[in-house]
């Protein structure tokens, strides 16, 4: 039991030494760590870990190396990762059959396996250390502190990285001092709206009640955002500690995690971390002998996007349909079970221990004037380096997409980046040099959101993207207020009509009017922001809408009704692969033989074609094109 500050200091010092020795190799051992994030686990990372243990055993060197699983490395498109300490060698895209070679060559022979190192796509150079890879160079880890370094299922490793040091300092301060520290750090909510966290805490502290709650919003619903999941999977204790500090600051005794049921690994690790902290006396009554008591509880979502809205989330915890409540009263006054409650996002809480441990200045020294610290982005879509990226606020979109993200694959042209998910907007090339911060993104017609950043290239149809987001919102609208319930449905119908080539110019005016109505009259942020993707695509890509309506053409060749597949007879060698894969048998031989070819080329009967795209995926000669 760690029931005093002295005991915590003693225990932490031992854990820190143990972890440092391990990373520096002072224990004369090699340490193999594998990424245990969702992306790598679905690429066999758990089996690879087992294989390492087997091979070390087989070769009789299991006393010379340890095998451990850590949280997400962030560079998901290059996973699974294997890292070897103390040399800090990073292997990527590791397969089961590579394990034996790594053990023989590196662990036993001390020779780096060159072919498994990351190769810089520009210079072609092999890079052996994580920090030398461009993807990581501009990153700075605050919220992701410990992720990819520690074993999230082992509290000792988290303690080795400073866990509970922030809490320790907070408990030596008054509640008001803690809130002042958070205010001074400039921390703003990472869930999307960017409300100053310290002010939210102040409201809750000022609310008079014996019972108060802290709720952690882990209902990360933005499709394409997975930073909260990675934090919970990589260092759950940091979020627990952040919640405890918040609890102390406002005078709460209990905290609730609300996590998506779609995140089983995060849930499991959070559960383990809570149990371990309880067993050590770090959660419960009279923590560190200071008289502060706090416990954490876990509640799961059940697949409703709207529960990311704070009042809907509270209803869900209360066992009701996840529908938002009118505000005021705000949760800080009347929240969970009618008591004062603060609701903070996972990433926000993960920043709190660092602020208390290192001081407000440490956090606020990074960032822009009004957006301090760092922000984690889930970079995805048409970008080479897909993954999780934490950058200082103020980093430009160009740095994010091209320096860190490595640009657009296959030499395609950048078209837009969607930030803020279904509530945000798209930003085009002209905004690439804009610094990323809360206010600037809003000023440019998008928003920070929770940090999803989806890159789109010339092959993406922006009308189709707007339709995609609208169908998502329409699906997820809870139905409580009619502007959102009916307005999103009508907008989806119009967008569907346009993508089918049945739109009229009047539709564009109707879309704009509907979006104004839905924005002004919806009860919660889901409805109020529902039209943002439509508005921003209309603002930047009006010509694409017009092409669909007037020319009946989809310039990106995405909308099925407005495009055709065509076989270039001079490129087609007549192999018949497309014919065999065609589900409606609409590809037939012609009597034309191209110069240099032996067989007659094929042609698509566009009256029969259902535009499934099977042919284009199987053609190895690039003979099939979209028109």
């Amino acid at each position: 039991m760690i029931n005093s500050v002295e005991k915590l200091n003693e225990y932490s010092a031992a854990c820190t030494k143990c972890l440092e020795d391990k990373l520096a190799g002072a224990d004369d051992k090699r340490h193999i760590v594998l990424c245990g994030g969702t992306g790598c686990l679905s690429n066999n990372s758990a089996e690879i870990r087992k294989r390492f243990e087997e091979v070390l055993e087989e070769k009789g060197v299991s006393d010379r190396a340890t095998v451990n699983q850590v949280g997400c490395f962030g560079f998901c498109s290059q996973g699974p990762f294997v890292k070897i300490y103390p040399e800090d060698t990073l292997y990527r895209l590791v397969k089961l059959e590579d394990v034996e070679e790594i053990v023989e060559s590196d662990i036993i022979g001390g020779q780096v396996v060159e072919r498994l190192l990351y190769e810089d796509p520009v210079t072609g150079e092999k890079v052996s250390k994580q920090d030398d890879i461009n993807f990581y160079k501009k990153q700075r880890r605050v919220a992701l502190h410990g992720c990819g370094v520690i074993n999230p299922e082992n509290i000792d490793e988290a303690m080795g990285m400073g866990a509970f040091q922030g809490l320790k300092r907070a408990l030596s301060m008054t509640q008001q001092q803690v809130i002042d520290e958070v205010l001074a750090s400039g921390l703003r909510g990472r869930g999307g709206a960017g409300f100053p966290s310290g002010r939210k805490w102040q409201f809750a502290l000022n609310s008079q009640s014996d019972v108060k709650y802290v709720v952690c919003n882990g209902d990360e619903g933005d499709p394409g955002a997975f930073m909260d999941r990675s934090i919970l999977e990589g260092n759950p204790l940091a979020v627990i500690e952040g919640m405890m500090i918040a609890g102390y600051a406002i005078g709460a005794q209990n905290g609730y995690f609300y996590v998506r049921a779609e995140y089983p690994i995060a849930v499991k690790r959070l559960r383990i971390a809570i149990d371990q902290a309880r067993k050590m006396g770090l959660l419960g009554k009279n923590i560190l002998g200071t008289g502060f008591s706090f416990d954490c509880h876990l509640r799961l979502g059940a697949g409703a996007f709207v529960c990311g809205e704070e009042t809907a989330l509270l209803n869900s915890i209360e066992g009701k349909r996840g529908m938002p409540r009118p505000r005021p009263p705000f949760p800080a006054v009347k929240g969970l079970w009618g008591q004062p409650t603060i609701i903070n996002n996972v990433e926000t809480l993960a920043c709190v221990p660092t602020i208390l441990r290192e001081g407000a200045d440490y956090f606020s020294s990074v960032g822009t004037e009004k957006s301090k610290g760092t922000k984690v982005f889930a970079l995805g879509g048409k970008v080479n380096n897909v993954g999780l990226v934490e950058v200082p606020m103020g980093t430009t979109l160009r740095e994010l997409i091209f320096d860190i993200g490595g640009g657009i694959p296959n030499g395609k042209k950048f078209k837009a980046i969607q930030t803020g998910g279904p509530s945000g907007g798209c930003l085009t090339e002209e905004f690439l040099d804009e610094p990323i911060d809360f206010d600037n993104l809003v000023a440019k017609g998008s928003m920070m959101g929770s940090g999803g950043a989806i890159v789109m290239d010339e092959d993406n149809c922006m009308v189709d993207v707007a339709k995609f987001y609208m169908s998502f919102i329409c699906d997820e609208s809870c139905g409580k207020c009619s502007p959102c319930r009916i307005g999103t449905k009508r907008m989806l119908e119009i967008l569907t009509r346009i993508t089918e080539g049945k739109g009229t110019m009047q539709d564009l005016d109707d879309l704009e009017e509907l979006s104004r109505t839905v924005k002004a009259n919806s009860l919660c942020a889901l409805g109020q922001t529902a039209a943002n993707p439509v508005n921003s695509t209309l603002a930047h890509f009006r010509d694409e809408y017009i092409a669909h309506i007037v020319d009946k053409k989809c310039p990106a060749h995405v909308c099925k009704n407005l495009m055709e597949y065509h076989i270039d007879p001079d490129k087609c060698i007549g192999c018949g692969m497309c014919h065999r894969g065609c589900p409606v048998d609409c590809i037939q031989k012609t009597d034309y033989i191209a110069p240099g070819h032996k067989m007659t080329s094929l042609a698509i009967d566009s009256t029969k074609c259902i535009k499934c795209g099977s042919c284009i995926t199987v053609c190895r000669f690039g003979a099939i094109e979209k028109r």
Binding site: S42, G221, P223, E262, G303, A304, S316, K382, I454
Partner: protein, 166 residues
């Protein structure tokens, strides 16, 4: 509730009992039942109602609100096509359309033989390997429409190997 055997009733009562010290535990109870049986039919909701004192109407309201809860049983193989944004911009719609066509069911439906359920998922966080398809928890990375038939065939092989019948 003629359709439920005594063991099932006892199990559901046991699940309700797990959370009797928790404030408003309905969601936790329903999640456990969903995980245990794969669906939450009306007979089961009636037992939960008796155990918790919450009206069946309210429970039904909650069950139908959340997409994770189902009133009907799911197939032996639940094919979840991720339609998160990262997967969508890389062609996930074609993949789910192809599954739909091959299995003859729409997303959310189960085949008549009870073998397959097709679900559209919202971001499973496997954005690095988009488009991703998850079948009974196993993730198939970088799916294309042309791989769909083969993946379905693989499920039949798994069914044969593990003795799963429709």
């Amino acid at each position: 509730m003629g359709g439920l055997n005594a063991a099932a009733v006892a199990k559901i009562e046991e699940i309700c009992g797990r959370y009797k010290d928790e404030n408003t535990p309905l969601m936790m109870i329903l999640s456990d039942i969903q995980n245990e049986y794969g669906y939450i039919p009306l007979e089961v909701q009636e037992i939960v109602s008796k155990q918790t004192g919450i009206s069946v109407a309210e429970i039904y309201g909650v069950v139908t609100f959340y997409s994770f809860f189902s009133l009907t049983p799911k197939g032996k193989f639940v094919i979840g096509c991720c339609l998160g944004t990262a997967c969508y911009v890389k062609g996930a719609q074609q993949v789910i359309d192809k599954f739909s066509e091959e299995l003859g069911i729409k997303p959310g439906e189960t085949t008549d033989d009870g073998m397959f359920t097709l679900d559209a998922l919202r971001c499973i966080g496997a954005c690095g390997i988009a488009p991703a398809v998850s079948i009974n928890g196993k993730v198939y990375p970088k799916m294309t429409a042309s791989q769909v038939r083969e993946v379905i065939a693989q499920q039949y092989l798994i069914a044969e190997k593990e003795g799963i019948t429709a």
